[in-house]
């Protein structure tokens, strides 16, 4: 499943073994955009039982989207707690303190997923 990037939403690619989120995220209506993404993630995860890798590379997200990211990671954490092997790579540019801090903060709530902060 592919959700093409728009001016205010990131590219999202979801397959049975991987998910990519890349771009900027400040949609006009967060649930209108996020609900189908979460549903596709649920379906993608249920297509197989193998390892699942999530790459998140965001350059900006607004405060409404922060709540979406929190729920997105919470969902992955639950799946991981249920036995699924999940790796999350939080990718950020070396000069981007805001995204580095955001990545560190999300990590605090994740203990079952394998979580990596990756400088790009």
């Amino acid at each position: 499943m592919i959700f093409e990037a728009t001016q205010r939403t990131p590219l999202v690619e979801i397959e049975s073994d991987r998910c990519l989120v890349r771009g900027e995220c400040y949609p006009e209506n967060i649930s209108e955009w996020a609900d189908p993404v979460m549903q596709a993630l649920d379906e993608g995860l249920n297509q197989s039982e193998g390892a699942f890798t999530v790459d998140v590379e965001l350059y900006y997200f607004n405060s409404s989207s922060a709540k979406f990211l929190f729920d997105f990671f919470d969902f992955l954490e639950s799946a991981s707690e249920g036995g699924r092997k999940i790796t999350i790579n939080w990718r950020y540019r070396s000069d981007d303190d805001t995204m580095q801090e955001a990545g560190e903060d999300f990590e605090e709530d994740l203990s079952h997923c394998c979580y990596n902060l990756v400088v790009i």
């Binding site: 001016q7 205010r8 400040y26 006009e28 209506n29 350059y59 900006y60 607004n62 405060s63 409404s64 922060a66 709540k67 929190f70 000069d95 981007d96 303190d97 805001t98 801090e101 903060d105 605090e108 709530d109």
Partner: protein
Amino acid sequence: MTKNTRSDETVALHSYMQDRQTLFCYSGPMNEELLTTMSNPVKHQISDKETQEALSRRVFGVFIEQAQNIIRYSHHKTKSSGDSIGTIAISVIEDGFLIEAVNVIAPEKRVMLETTLSELSTKDQEELRTLYKQRLRDGPPDDSVGAGLGFIDMARRVSRFEFDFKNTEEGDLFIYRGWVT
């Protein structure tokens, strides 16, 4: 040719904006579609080659949050479409940018806004970061006007901010000024 006093007003507006280096200003009805349209010119204006990308991104973040505050909470709406009316501006200052915004608020929101913003203005970056995380986990309070994640997000991106309230014929104005340096 007769002297046209109206053109003086227009020149005064031009000179005023030029003198204070206001590179973007919008005043009028706002909605999310319009914000989409405004985003690209704003991004363009704050991203010249001499400006660090990290600084531009912080300015952009404050701009988006404050524009959305106006859209969601302005108490002054157009009769026809119900769009929120407000003013938002970005100006160049010596070491960065100043983001200014004005909108009418509901009179009963003033105390809560004042309390929240006063509290935020006393916090340092680490405290703001902790508060942001906590609010993200706990969800918004019952009445999220000014107490939600948005103002914390803005406080984290600015070096300092000021706010004020003024009673006018238009209503109770809320004034926000944030410096990104």
